[in-house]
């Protein structure tokens, strides 16, 4: 059986890639994709921990299902907001959406 640590290392790598994407990229859609990667890393963590640590309790699985259901809702609202921004300004680049600063 694959040891638990492999899953955790994989999840940590995935999370870091996602976080890097969020912090380094300009396009809002790509930022949202980075956030999705971070949430997927969480799900890998949750399912792996559930399988290895507490397989008799369903909590880990239920948590993972909640996470992707909520993530879908968040993306739906996010894309709607991006569309309303795009209609006004013809861009969703985060560094160009800077009417307000300091």
């Amino acid at each position: 059986m694959i040891p638990l640590s492999w899953y955790l290392i994989f999840a940590a790598a995935l999370f870091s890639i996602g976080l890097f994407g969020v912090l380094a990229r300009k396009n809002a859609i790509v930022i949202l994709m980075g956030i999705e990667l971070m949430l997927n890393a969480v799900n890998v963590n949750l399912v792996a921990f559930w399988r290895y640590r507490a397989p008799e309790m369903i909590a880990g699985q239920a948590f993972a299902i909640m996470v992707f259901a909520v993530a879908a809702a968040e993306v739906a609202v996010g894309l709607a907001l991006f569309i309303s921004i795009y209609r006004r300004r013809n861009t969703v680049a985060a560094d160009e959406i800077d009417l307000m600063k300091w």
Partner: protein, 485 residues
């Protein structure tokens, strides 16, 4: 598991809020467009009614797990729930002034659903429930912040709020997944039992990850970047709601989470939170000095206030149980006083900004001659924010600093007092503009809507009552604090 009527009592306020949201949506489609504005009265009256009915569901002493341990029914969650519902009702009244906010009923429905989320945040006792509650609060708030889709600033506010919120909640969730992994359970109290007493690097790591999410909710430095932009851009009543109820919900979670999950790790989180408190107070107050837009000023002031409240949260880490309890009590008391005060401040800005069409300082010159009563309410609210007696903000600050001193954190109290002095300067500057400067058009009267008038009277009286007759409120906060010890 069989369902009994008594099982529903702990979630009675949430059920009623959902019913009210549905009623608003049904009325929205059945009313003619011109009358939809009155949904604000429905929402506010409904919120008041919910508070009255919920008194029937008052918790007993102690803290009982309900619904399979998902939530806790105690005075702490009950107090916060009533606070959020009050905030939502007042926000609905302020929103009625904004035609474009209230021409559709969805505004009120979203407001109420986000209040449901906050109510669950205050009572959640399980990682899954906590995450769901935080997202139920946040997602409607993203929409509310960007509610004016044809307004560049408002859509920008929604955009920024969503990106920051989604990122920090993902980071927080990674911390949750680690906590679940270390303990094999999602129940907060059981996590604490299965964690070993000694601190380890992974534990500190997950603590920090979780603090990122909570820090965003309460807009503590360095997770505050979203706050000024979002408050400036979003419709003013929404900004008021964000800066009060949403922030109080964040603190409710922070207090319960730290005390339930990390009681053995106070040496780790107390210094972290103390440094966050100092940074938040200082940065908030200093940057507020340089602002020219009153909504941004209030945004930075609300960041600074999050710093003051963090003093109480740090005091709760004290090994002396009395000091710890005073820390929680003063946190709750301050949040009550702050919610009433800051809602009033944002309500005045909303009412005035709507008429003047500007949130710039210069628009406020000589406001007292155009509307003496609005100026009076503004004086009460701003002096309370500045922490002047006899208003609620003063008593709140006294208790916070007392808690810090009792917990042997005299330096933290000193930093807090120094910061209050800085704060006093910019609040008084605004009042100087309002009362002493000549207005460009002194004769032009400022009509104040009936809904605004009602809300401002309630809040102004509230500020004075909390400041003068603070005994019962302090008793309430103490009962709430005792429930989670």
């Amino acid at each position: 598991m069989t369902l009994t009527a008594s099982m529903f009592l702990p979630i009675l306020p949430e059920i009623l809020l959902l019913l009210l949201a549905e009623l608003v949506l049904v009325l929205d489609v059945s009313l003619p467009k011109a009358q939809r504005r009155n949904l604000g009265w429905v929402t506010a009256a409904g919120a008041g009614l919910i508070i009255l009915i919920s008194l029937a569901a008052m918790p007993g002493p102690g803290s009982s797990p309900e619904w399979g341990g998902m939530i806790r029914h105690d005075w702490m969650s009950f107090t916060f729930k009533m606070l959020f519902i009050f905030g939502a009702g007042i926000t609905a009244l302020f929103a009625m002034d904004y035609k474009r906010l209230v021409e559709r009923g969805d505004f009120f429905a979203l407001l109420l659903i986000s209040t449901v989320g906050m109510a669950f945040m205050a009572s959640a006792a399980d990682l899954i429930m906590l995450y769901l509650a935080i997202e139920t609060t946040s997602i409607p708030l993203y929409v509310l912040a960007g509610f004016f889709t044809d307004d560049k600033k408002s859509s920008e506010a929604g955009f920024k709020y969503l990106l920051f919120g989604a990122m920090t909640s993902a980071i927080m969730l990674y911390g949750f997944s680690l906590l679940y992994g270390f303990s094999g359970t999602t129940d907060l109290a059981m996590i604490a039992q299965s964690l070993t007493a000694e601190m380890s690097v992974p534990m500190i790591g997950s603590l920090l990850l979780v603090l990122v999410g909570f820090g965003f909710k309460v807009s503590a430095v360095p997770f505050h970047f979203w706050a000024p932009d979002v408050y400036e851009g979003s419709p003013t009543p929404v900004a008021g709601f964000l800066s009060t109820a949403s922030k109080a919900a964040g603190f409710a979670v922070l207090v319960r989470f730290m005390l339930t999950v990390f009681p053995q790790m106070t040496e780790a989180w107390a210094p972290i939170l103390a440094s966050l408190a100092v940074a938040t107070m200082t940065l908030g107050n200093l940057v507020a000095l340089a602002q020219k837009n009153i909504k941004r000023l209030l945004a930075y002031s609300s960041i600074a206030h999050a710093g003051y409240v963090l003093i109480g949260v740090v005091a709760m880490a004290s090994p002396d149980p009395e000091a710890a309890q005073l820390g929680v009590t003063s946190t709750i008391f301050y949040l009550v006083a702050y919610l009433v005060t800051n809602l009033a401040a944002f309500g005045i800005i909303a009412a005035f900004g709507r008429q003047a069409g500007s949130d710039d300082y210069t628009a406020y010159y000589g406001m007292s001659r155009r509307s003496p009563y609005l100026a009076l309410a503004m004086m009460v609210a701003f002096l309370s924010l500045a922490g002047m007696p006899p208003f609620g903000g003063f008593v709140g600050k006294v208790f916070l600093f007392a808690a810090a001193i009792k917990a042997n954190l005299i330096w933290l109290a000193v930093v807090g007092v120094l910061n209050s002095i800085v704060g006093l300067y910019y609040y008084l500057t605004i009042l100087k503009y309002v009362f002493l400067y000549p207005s460009a058009n002194p004769e032009e009267p400022l009509p104040i809507n009936a809904s605004n008038r009602l809300a401002l009277i309630v809040l102004t009286v509230g500020i004075v009552v909390i400041g003068v007759i603070f005994g019962p409120w302090f008793g309430l906060a103490a009962t709430a604090a005792a429930a989670i010890f």
